[in-house]
Every structure is written in C-alpha cells, then in structure tokens.
Symmetry: C2
Subunit: 524 residues, 2 copies
C-alpha cells in the first residue's frame, strides 16, 4: 500500500494524518499525474515553451514525464533566467548602451544576481531540490551582528553604525519596562486577571531583561566592551552600557528601510536555504534532465495562433526560424512579452503593458580579506542603510576563507533606477563610498566588482511583477487562463511573485491544465 | 612597517584604529611572543602537559612555537576531551557499570557530544580555526520554526506543540498593542516628548504589526493555514489566526526552560558556527601539528613536585611510568584532578573538591528520514520542552539528505542526573517517548541511538565547571597561580566556562606566564 493509497483509504482526519507525518503541510512530493498509457495522454503532443527560466524548465520536465514532446526556446546562452549566479567569467551587457562586463572574481567566489534564498516553507522549491539532488546549505538571513546605518539623521546615533542586536536588545528592554510600569500602575484598562498580569510581567522581565525593580538598565545580552571580553584568570568582562531610549527613538531606525528584519517577514523567518555553489545549481540540474530539449541563443520574435495550435518564430544565427506545435507555454517576463509580435488577445496584451516590474540592482564586491568576519564577527546576514546602497549582504559560505564577495548594494524602486543609470565604474564608486561608512576597511581591501540592474538586463527587463489590489483585479486574471492554445507561467502568474516557488507552482498549474485539457487527468 | 608597529607608533585613538579595522575587537591573531634565539627562551625546557583536550593541545602548540619540549599525557585513545564527535564506530563505556556502546550511525552522520557551537564573537576559537585551516559552516541556533512543548500544563495551549515563531509574533503583537494603548491614553507617567511618543508608537506598530487602530489582530508574519499557501492562479493564501493573549499567558512558555532563546543570550546570538564534519576537526588539526608529542592511553596517577620541577607517574599498558620535567601544565577537569595522588597545595585541592561540575547528557537519534525537514520545515535549530529531554537539536548539515541524526535530548542538572542514571536502552526509550510528543513521526522512522552522560564519562566526570559568586571568590583564585612549577589551564580557569574559547584563552594565559617566568617575555 503506498502512502497515497493509505491516505485515500483511511478515514483518519486531515489533522491526525498531518500530525502523524502522513501528509506534508503543503505539496512537497513529486508531481504524480496519471501518465503514459492512459487514454489521451501527452504522448507525442508538441509543446513549445518560451524561456528556460525555472517555470519553463519545470514545465518541460513535468510534461516530459507525461510523454509530451517539448522544445524550450531560450534567448540567452544559459538557462535559469533570473536565477543567475555571477562568478569569474560571467559576461553581461545591459541595454541602452551598457558596457560589456566580464566578472573577474576568484575561483569559488560568486554572488546570486537574482534569486538568492529559499524560505524553509517553500516546499515546492525544496521538493525540486530533493528530486534533482541539489544540495542545500543554510543562508544566514537575519544576522543580529550586522549593522544599521542611518545617513543624514540628526540624533545622537545618526551617521554611525549600530549592531542590530544592540538596537533590538535596548528597544525590547525599554518597551518592556514601559509596559511593566503601566501594568504595575494598573494604568491599563484591560481584561486580564491579576494572575495573568503577573504572568505578563514575568514575560516582560524575561523579554526585556529587566531588573527586580522592572527597570531596563542594560543587559549582558549586549555583550562586552572592546578588549574587555571575559577570559582566563581575573577577567570577568565588562558589560556595555545601553543607548538611551530618546536617542534610539530619534535614531531613524523606525523607518521601514531598516525594519524589514528577517525574523519578522514570513518569507524571511529562519531558516533560509541556498544551494551549495550558487543558485544556478537548480537550473543546471534541470538541464541535465532536458538534454536536447533546449534551443539556446534563440530569441522569440513572433507568437502566432494557428487553426490547431501555435506557430512561433525565433531568431537563430540572425535568421528567422519557424516552429509549430499544439500548445505554447509562454514564461517570458511581461516586459519581454510586450515586445513580441503576437496574436495574443487584448486582455493579455494589456496585462503585459500595465503590470509593473520591480527595478532592482545588485553589485558583487570582491575583497582581498574577509574583514567583516575577521574584524566585525559578521558571518552572513544583511546590514541595512538608508543610502542608495540600501543593503549589504555577507556571504554565508566559504567562511573564514582568503577572499570574499559581498553584495555591496541591493536596492529597489527609485534607488535602483538611479544607481542602474550610472556607468559601471560609477556604480562601483558609489558602492565603495557609501559602503565605507559602514565598513571603513573597504578602500584598503577592495579587489573588483560586477554590477547588474535587472530592469536593464536583456531578456528580463525587471526584477519581478509588482501587483497591487487594482492590478490584481484588472490585469492578473488574463494571465491565468489559456489564450486559445497559449498558456502563461512564471512568478507573475502567482501570489508568490519574486520567489522561485512562484515559478515552480505556476509550472505545475500549467502542466495540470494542459494535461486535463487533453483528457489525461481529471482534477480533483 | 607591520600592523603591530603601526599600532605602537601611532597616536591614533583605540576607537579610530578599531573603526579602521586596524585592531580586532578581541585577540584574534596568532600568538606572537618573543621566540627562539632570545635570552632565556624556551628552547629545550621540558614541559609535561596533562590532558590532550583543547587547553592541553593549545598549550603544547604554542609552547612548541617557542622552543619548549612538550609531552602531552592523555588518558584516552583520542584527543579533544569534551570536544568529541560521535559517529559510526565511536565507542564509550560510562563509569559505575555502564554498558559498552558502539555507535552505528550511517556514513557522514554524527553529533557533537560535547562542544557544539562557536559564537561569532569568540574570536580566539575562530582564530585557531583559521590558523589550523578548519573550515566552518553555519550552526543554525535560533530557528523560529522549531517548537515549544509544555507537558502537563493546564491552559488551552498545554500539551501541544507550538512554533516558536507563533509565540513570538503573537506576544510581540499583544505587548505592542498594550503599550501603544497605554501611550495613547497618556497612562504612563514618563519623560518622553509628544514627538518621541509618536515615534515609539510607530516602532510598536512595526514591532507588533498592529492595525491602524493600534490593535493586534494577527499578522501575515504568522504565515498561512495548512493547504492554503499562496500559489499560482487564484490562490492568495489564507492567513492563520493568532492565539489569544490569555491562552498564551497560561501556556507556561514564560518558564525559563523555554525562554533561553538563541536571539537573547549573548553567546547564542546569530551567528553561530561549527566545523564542517564535526567539532573534532579542531583537535584533529592540532594533532597534526603535534606529531609524537602526545602519549595516548596514558592516564596520570601521580603529580609530584621535585626540587627543580615536576615528576609525573602515568600508567602505560597497566604499568606505572615516570616522567620528569621543569614545568607541568595540568588541564585535567577538576573531578579528575581530585582523584590524583599529588603534592598539590591545600588550596588547589580544595578547589578541586568544591567547585561543582555540570551534570549534562545528550542522545543522538538516527532516523531513516529527515521528517523534521520534509514534514515540518525545520532545518537546524532547537525545540524546547519542559520534559526530561529538555531540548531537541536538529542538524544544520546534510540538509535534505536520506537519513539524519538529531540530538534527542540535551539536558542539565537533575534532569540529566535522572536520565543519565537509566540504562542505555531506557534512555533511548525515554527520548523516543517524550520526543514523540513533539514529533509523532519518531516511532515510524527511528533507526538507532548513542547516548552519553558527561558526569559518567571516564576522564571527564562532568560537563563544565559551574561557579557562583561564592565559589569564584573562595576557590577560583587558587587555580590562577602556579602551584610551584605546576600550572592550571582549561575552561575552569576562566570566565568562559563551558566554551572552547575558555580552553584557548586559558592556554594562552599559561603560555605567557611560563614564558614570562623563564625570562623569554615581558608582559606589557
């Protein structure tokens, strides 16, 4: 009896099955649709897939299991799309006269230019990593030892870096003290019993590390003064002093740019993961399953409907080539879709025209020495600033090695637009100048850089689809249904925009829809 | 000009040097004492070191650099002492009639029976890993996805597991709401200006994810209901509901056993690290530097003072062997020291008699399937219970592999004493029964186990020295000065008890003291 049979045959409740580990909390097993040999299965049906990003690769992989004859057309010479690991030898030339860059990072060093982390609850992404044998390691997302830096503020704490842990420990302390005071004074008109109030005060004493008088006077959670760590002999260590509440309130760190801390956003809560050796291990693993199914350097120029299917025109060695099939699965990002000549319906074309994409950029900075580890004790994680560089990401791999690549900026919206508009040299200059305010070691240790602006990257044209309630309502539905025999997949057809999980789940949805249409599968 | 010269010659302040990365925040470089060729250096001076744990290994390594002729006597057939990685083939027999265990974990699986994590600010530990070429990886300490489980409570949330993230998100929400209410009602007699109060309320709105009315009504930080994750098509996801404040307050999770969460204790704040392949990579790396300096299977029985040095008796193949030297560095844990026949002074003997050691135990449980990852999305981290098992640790390595070893209990004091007193089979039974309450998959997936109780492990006799103010004052000083030509090192001679950093820093202190005494070094 298989696990599935057991689940189907038993009368046990979902909750008890879940509790007994018989059901994963989300779809985390291999896709298991009725396959070859069934009536009207996919055998021999021709499907043309536009784009060898994760959505396209997954669609071809899953349809291939069902016997469909898939061809992926990919404009680039590589697979993965916005899953792109930049390492020594990586080349790119941005649009609008961008200079050609060739990355000169040392062997073994890299950064993930696009997708860079896997939430522990993105079970479909994790399932594909298992299924394809992609080894994972921990991505250190929320590192309390990283810094906050508020440029241009006016308080006592402006224009100086602060450890996130100091901010958290102190704010937890003061707010716990204030609430304990309100409770002690019965100042709050609330519904709690005396006993519950006592429990809450117990909680606050722990939460804020308050003293017996319920006051926050600093805490050993903040660590020790420089050169006064506890040690051997007569060295108990000297504790640090807390910052003042007023100074903290005026620090500017309440701004959202600092506040998107990893522990809080659901997608960034521990634990985050990453493939060993770079995120492109995932598309590379798919490629091995799709030998001779991908045509590289084949940008699509036309997308046509025919009486019984689709006709695609792409360029190969500068010349147009035609390909016909029964179905097309278009995974192109919308900024690319809107440049195609096509027979697409008006609603789809408007969706492509009006759903905005994130402007976003990153720069990888190679340094001769991992000073953030050696001098600052920062092993992975993210520092946050209100400058154009916005975030600094520290690598969670090759710890304590000889060199290192950190992400010197990761920015969005107007900041990304402004920085992306700079020359390659000026982006580097900006990253070094602003980053030096957090890490004065930058100038002495800098080696080389590689930068990218996704809204200027050919065949991507943006970071990810950005929906608000209005665009969800007005434009999103057009992408969910097939336009005759043309299906749409990719993160922009999901509520998991910007995540690889969006690409995966959209591919499965499309495979199920096609297979149901040809009669090979009845959806429950 | 070397870095050291620059630091000595410049008039720059310590703070500016630190800011410019010219000074590490703690001693993080190779020990650099005046070496061979100086007047009265260590050349040829005989030092006998008792114990090949980290303190002994480091002492021999550093004295060796200075020309001393060191011999380490080690009772066991391995180095490392309480730095001990348990893997397939590991054997141990505890005292008091303990049964011989041989570990049968699968290839590549292990747990660290003793020291298991390196804080990012233990710079000396990190420095030795760098100096010896021990590669590190992230140890996931504070995993918000792990569980809390309160056995025997009476509230609505008793006897059921809860994700740490749910507890944190809800408690942050409610306490932020309550404090915002107190501030809104001007109920608090505090010193803040109106503007600062507004900033504090802004902070609380972010901290607790309050709605516009400053109420906590749950948050998308809690994630989505089972089978209602956001996905492709019309699947925005369904948010979970918060637990009630009263239920949370009565959950029992305010007890210290649950509260020692990683983000709070200084030593456990992100980021924690571990050597790739097991903590014993550190002693093994030292061993390579100390060829033919370590005599294994050589338990010391006598420690004698002579006119100009020391005389040690140890057993080799059951027969007593004598060794004489100028100095002895004794790194034996105090429970072992007190069993020696010795000429030690009364104050040292009393220290050995009266400084208590932690009773503590662990069990490694191998499972056929990594259900905690596949079913629960737990990749590393620690679940906390009030049962005898106390903590469950999930491995931060070999993620998504075929099998896995987790630490099924890590307990202390009376819990460790009670569990350690059980037979090997009964310890396993207890770990499985209690652990099943958190992970019902245990019975179906269990493979085999290996357990240990440090207070019953030969040649250790306990986890680590436990000081309070009284024992620090009364007994600790005796261990800090040499007893004639006998020096003491090990975590028990530091304020970093229980940490490898204690062993390292004590070894350096001892090396400096000996080298200063023979005139090879003048302490600044």
């Amino acid at each position: 009896m298989t696990r599935r049979d057991f689940i189907n045959s038993t009368s046990a409740s979902y909750a008890s099955l879940l509790a007994w580990g018989m059901l994963p909390a989300a779809p985390a097993s291999a896709l298991d649709l009725p396959a070859n040999g069934q009536r009207n299965d996919g055998k021999g049906r021709k499907v043309i897939i536009l784009g060898a990003g994760l959505a396209g690769l997954t669609t071809a992989y899953e349809l291939g299991k069902l016997g469909y004859d898939c061809t992926i057309l990919e404009a680039r010479s590589r697979s993965g799309g916005r899953v792109w690991t930049v390492r020594g030898g990586t080349k790119e030339t941005e649009i609008d006269g961008g200079l050609a860059q060739t990355c000169s990072f040392a062997e073994g060093h890299y950064f993930n230019g696009g997708a860079a982390r896997i939430p522990h609850h993105h079970q479909l992404t994790l399932q594909y990593c298992r299924e394809l044998g992609v080894p994972l390691q921990i991505f250190n997302g929320a590192n309390e030892s990283a810094y906050l830096y508020n440029e241009g503020g006016t308080g006592n704490l402006a224009n100086q870096r602060m450890r996130i842990s100091d901010y958290h420990n102190d704010m937890r302390g003061y707010t716990s003290e204030l609430l304990a005071k309100a409770l002690d004074q019965s100042a709050l008109d609330q519904q709690l019993t005396k006993e519950d109030v006592d429990k809450l005060i117990d909680f606050l004493k722990n939460e804020g590390d308050l003293n017996t008088a319920h006051l926050y006077k600093g805490t050993n959670r903040r660590g020790y003064k420089s050169k006064s760590d506890p040690g051997a002999g007569n060295a108990p260590g000297t504790l640090t002093d807390p910052f003042g509440l007023t100074d903290l309130l005026r620090s500017g760190f309440m701004q959202p740019v600092f506040y998107n801390v990893g522990d809080y956003a659901y997608e960034q809560q521990t634990t985050l993961l990453q493939p060993v050796g770079g995120m492109d291990a995932i598309p590379k693993a798919f490629e091995k399953k799709l030998t001779e199914k991908i045509i590289f350097n084949a940008p699509v120029t036309e997308l046509r409907k025919t009486d019984n299917g689709v006709r695609i025109v792409y360029k190969k060695d500068g010349k147009p080539v035609e390909l016909t099939g029964e179905f097309c699965v278009c995974t192109l990002p919308l900024p690319m879709l809107k440049t195609l000549e096509s027979d697409l319906s008006g609603t789809v074309k408007r969706a492509a025209d009006f759903i905005p994409y994130m402007k976003t950029g990153k720069i990888g900075l190679q340094f001769k020495r991992r000073f953030w580890e050696e001098d600052d004790g920062i092993y992975g994680g993210i520092s946050r600033t209100n400058m154009d560089i916005n975030q600094i990401w520290y690598p969670s791999f090759s710890l304590q090695g000889q060199k290192g690549v950190l992400i010197g900026y990761y920015n969005f919206y107007s900041r990304a637009e402004a920085v992306g508009a700079l020359s390659i040299a000026d982006r580097e200059k900006l990253a070094l100048e602003q980053g030096s305010k957090v890490h004065p070691q930058y100038p002495a240790e800098f080696d080389n850089s590689f930068s990218l602006a996704w809204h200027r990257i050919p065949y991507s044209g943006g970071g990810w689809a950005v929906y608000d309630d209005a665009t969800r309502k007005k434009y999103y539905p057009a992408l969910l249904e097939p336009d005759d025999n043309i299906y749409f997949a990719g993160e922009h057809t999901t509520y998991l925009t910007a995540w690889m999980a969006g690409a995966f789940t959209s591919a499965r949805r499309t495979v199920e829809a096609i297979h149901a249409r040809v009669g090979g599968y009845t959806k429950n």
